[in-house]
Symmetry: C2
Subunit: 606 residues, 2 copies
């Protein structure tokens, strides 16, 4: 379908397009509440034909794995919209379009376009379709740049944003690869300064070289090695010449030569340039966080481990900005050896994350309901039967309406309970499985490591930062504690107490490393690299100038204990688990007092 807005489109470069055409496809139907519209944005060589058979290549559309019956974006559920970008060559206005008032294509007289201009064209289409608010904007690579631009400019018109394998600014290396491609096209004498259309010849060789160079960047070395290695193409031995001896050469030539049949060289120049120019922060005084300052949308960032064109570091840069603007953000780094193109390929983990996120946006998430009970019983509370009574104690320490970061949040049990009782919370979790389950429950969770990724949060971003039963497994406990009290006002830490009498007896009389219900691992396979006692922990807090607001010791049965007297060693001797609530002391120091004097050790949690 073609949409032709009445008004000219003013462009970022200062010029305007008097006549505009946007070619688009839709899948499914808009529901009565107009609440199920999902805009998907294609990458540089994609187009509006996301699903089904492509009219030119006769192959499945670029996201046929995602859009279709029984797939993540099922047309029976969502109204999916995909438009050819401004500057493209599949029906939307671009350098190959006829210049108004003449019979020649624009060629290089087409004005420069930006990612923002593409989004403006899409926004008009969305208006035209009568959609006030999109459920979600999703895009990979250049499409992810569009999604980010949508989020920055039209946050009030989006519930969710999913930027996949993308960046908030094009890197120097990526500009360099684009420049190589452009130089290859422009070096082709058939390009003729962009005026090739009238001669009936196109700069095929140059465009093929550009495509070949770019295509390498979409893959990964491991994937190429697995797929092609050094295998020869239809021969027993090398030709000692310049034929395509190797399968990889043959494959690459094929990629180049088929591309020129479906893509316009000038469009390639303009779209690469639009990506080069993309630097979202530049429009906000160089501060990316400001781009998302007013955002009420929920974000779900996705990157792939082997993507070296838009590596995970690019997604983490966006994440830092979202954290800096207190936006609601999840982030998943998917283990894949397929490189940048992984977002177009069969990646079940990505499908799972997308599905969970979309369901939670449309209020169909199981997890919200499951997390809504708050009790310890039933399916959702299974972890509580495994000595996680500390979560009860922790939940009781958190103020109503507090904003919470749960480090090592697992499957989100504590978070969903907190959210159900009115607190706001996000999590960090290392395991892919845990993150996926959290996202599917409608929770905002970032895949990350306490040792390295707390630096991504700005000072004072949270009221409470929780580290439950994880302190002993992090690499640098002191640094993690420092970070917790940098990004939060209060830190809540629970850990198994190595000073418990059972541990002491075990070592002293058996002469072996203690193993208990809370420390169930053999010494040679324990994840607990930094075991400590209650007294050790107090000592560290004192050194760090932290104030212990409250302490709760849990005995072997998981019950909070009341310790008599003022002797800290009793808490150390009889607590199998310890829960500390810490703040940064203005006076600096613990005061040297025994823990139970400070916060009522052994009190019953709310």
């Amino acid at each position: 379908m073609i949409f032709r807005p009445d008004e000219p489109l003013a462009l970022a470069c200062g010029e305007a397009l008097p006549q505009l055409e946007i070619a688009y496809q839709t899948y499914g139907a808009l529901n009565a509440e107009k609440s199920n519209a999902v805009l998907i944005c294609h990458g540089i060589t994609g187009d509006q034909h996301a699903a089904g058979r492509h009219p030119i290549t006769e192959k499945p559309g670029w996201w046929d794995r995602v859009v279709g019956e029984g797939k993540v974006l099922d047309p029976s559920r969502y109204f999916v919209i995909c438009a050819n970008v401004l500057g493209g060559c599949m029906g939307s206005t671009g350098p190959g379009s006829l210049k108004p008032g003449g019979d020649k294509p624009y060629g290089l007289s087409f004005p420069a376009i930006t990612i923002g201009d593409m989004v403006e064209a899409q926004r008009r289409l969305i208006d035209h379709l009568g959609i006030e608010r999109l459920l979600c904007v999703i895009g990979g690579s250049m499409g992810g740049m569009q999604a980010l631009r949508w989020a920055a400019r039209y946050s009030d018109r989006l519930s969710g944003v999913v930027p996949i394998a993308t960046a908030a600014r094009h890197s120097a290396q990526n500009i360099a690869f684009h420049e190589v491609g452009r130089q290859a096209i422009m070096a082709d004498p058939r390009w003729r300064g962009g005026d090739y259309a009238e001669r009936g010849e196109t700069p095929q060789k140059g465009l093929a070289v550009a495509r070949m160079a770019a295509h390498i960047t979409y893959l990964s070395e491991p994937a190429l090695h697995r797929k092609f290695g050094r295998n020869l193409q239809d021969r027993e031995r090398v030709s000692y010449g310049f034929e395509a001896d190797f399968q990889i050469e043959s494959y690459l030539r094929h990629q180049g030569f088929t591309f020129v049949d479906r893509f316009d060289a000038n469009s390639y120049l303009y779209l690469t340039r639009a990506m080069d120019y993309f630097d979202l922060a530049a429009d906000y005084g160089g501060n990316l966080a400001k781009a998302f300052a007013a955002s009420a949308s929920r974000f779900c960032l996705i990157s792939f481990t082997s993507d070296w064109l838009f590596p995970t570091a690019d997604s983490r840069q966006i994440l830092r900005a979202l954290n800096g603007s207190a936006a609601d953000a999840s982030f998943v780094e998917i283990e894949s050896d397929k490189g940048h193109d992984a977002f177009l390929l069969d990646e079940p983990e990505m499908f799972g994350v997308l599905d969970g996120f979309l369901k939670s946006l449309s209020g169909r998430s199981d997890g919200r309901r499951r997390g809504g009970r708050g009790g310890g019983e039933g399916e959702g509370g299974s972890s509580f039967r495994e000595n996680r009574v500390d979560l009860d104690v922790i939940a009781g320490m958190i103020a109503p309406e507090a904003r919470v970061l749960d480090i090592g949040c697992g499957d989100g049990e504590l978070l969903s309970r907190l959210i159900a009782s009115g607190r706001r919370g996000v999590g960090i979790e290392l395991s892919q499985d845990g993150v996926n389950r959290c996202v599917a429950r409608g929770l905002s969770v970032v895949q990350g490591d306490a040792d390295t990724d707390l630096a991504d949060y700005p000072d004072g971003a949270f009221d409470d930062v929780v580290l439950s039963q994880t302190l002993q497994a992090v690499g640098r406990p002191r640094a993690v504690l420092e970070q917790m009290l940098r990004i939060g006002s209060r830190a809540i830490v629970s850990f198994p107490n190595f000073g418990h009498w059972r541990c002491r007896l075990y070592l002293a009389f058996w002469g072996r490393m203690p193993m208990t219900l809370l420390l169930p691992h053999f010494w040679f396979e324990t994840p607990n690299a930094h075991l400590c006692t209650v007294m050790d922990f107090e000592r560290l807090c004192w050194e760090m100038g932290l104030r212990m607001e409250r302490f709760v010791g849990l005995d072997g049965g998981g019950k909070p204990r009341r310790f008599l007297g003022r002797f800290g060693f009793l808490a150390n001797l009889f607590s199998e688990q310890a829960v500390f609530l810490l703040t940064r002391s203005s006076e600096g120091g613990f005061g040297g007092l025994a823990p139970q004097e400070k916060g009522g050790s052994g009190e019953t949690p709310e």
Copy 2:
């Protein structure tokens, strides 16, 4: 200088070159013993002008940082030889040379050449210079391929080999990048099927594009970001066009356009092809270890962390083959963000490794002498004053003439003592500093991690595998023990005993994590993630079916203790350090006997 051999050169492709010219440079003089000759092999765009001002570019030669007075390859000490490769365009015979019997250059009628052909040409030059044995062959990238080929074919004529940032076979991704470059050249109409010379026009645009694409692969994203970022070139704002708006574009264009002045397009085709064809294992039945089977040369492999063209994995593949053929190999991975080109740049760590390795080859290594004493006194024995009495005990357990692997070898103290007393030993060490010090002492040490890199060694490669005071700091102690007894006949393990009475008392009565001379770290900063007691360790060995051949317990003063009675707990209680000698039991199991019955606990070490 030009060397013109009399005989034609037979090539791998089956053809022969009737007339051959090799252009070369030398620095320094051959000594009377003819023992100081070092051949350095250049990369694809280098040439014979390694040092001093280049006659064409007027810039310093490609390895001016290494070759020259006061530098690593000081001409007052070494006789340095560098030849333009066969197929090159700086004087050696190549596709630009006149075809014999005519007045036209070869062009594409030049026969295909291989890395092996380049080495044959160099070998003739070395013969011509009257050198029977080279002290060392050194090369980076394509030059590293030549060095590997030298080592495989002429091991008897080399003392040492230094392959830097290279691979034993060109990867699919690298072939792909080369193919893009070749297609760019061949797409240029001025290339004219290779016969451009007579027209006085060269395929400049195509060659420039090829160079630009290749140049990106020589750098790294962090280096590009640091150097250029998204900085604009001589302008305040983007041009909204296709000029070189960004510094990176301007830089890349400059790289492309200056390259065409000094390099021949056909040479570029032939040299890229030679690299593509390089697969050293293919000449040895697909088994790379066989390429080095007869090698008596010492190897020093060097890679750089940010090199993605020849990543560290490529060097590790070579290392595995060298280990598989029991060759003498060191390996260093240098931390650098400069990418592949790091080997051409200012990398002091690389200079240090090269210098140490060359000195040890020429018998000027301090370390060999220092390590030759064997005692615990003096400068070389300083670590022994720091509770390393276990090294005395370990040295005493190793048979004369045993082949030893020392995991976590530090600065090589144990190794150099073993070697001085006739044992053969190599080491693995994680720290750059430790590896450098070992290499400078003339020891063969691989930079690596016990948890991941023991898999690089073949079964039964060693008599004794030593892990001293490292067990408790590795990530997976059980897997490391398994590996030790896979690659060696006997494993010798020393560790601090957490079951010592001091540790027990510390925890039991103080309620804090023990800190002793051997365990000097606070709980929150200890590297010891897997502490264990003597009894824990025995139990693990029993489970793994290992046989304890000998046990020595060292008391707090570092003295071997004699434990009376048959009760293992005494050894556990009074040994501050433990040293175990283990084998794989054929009966499977420890026999359940107390340690002192098995191997004479407490005996005095030899």
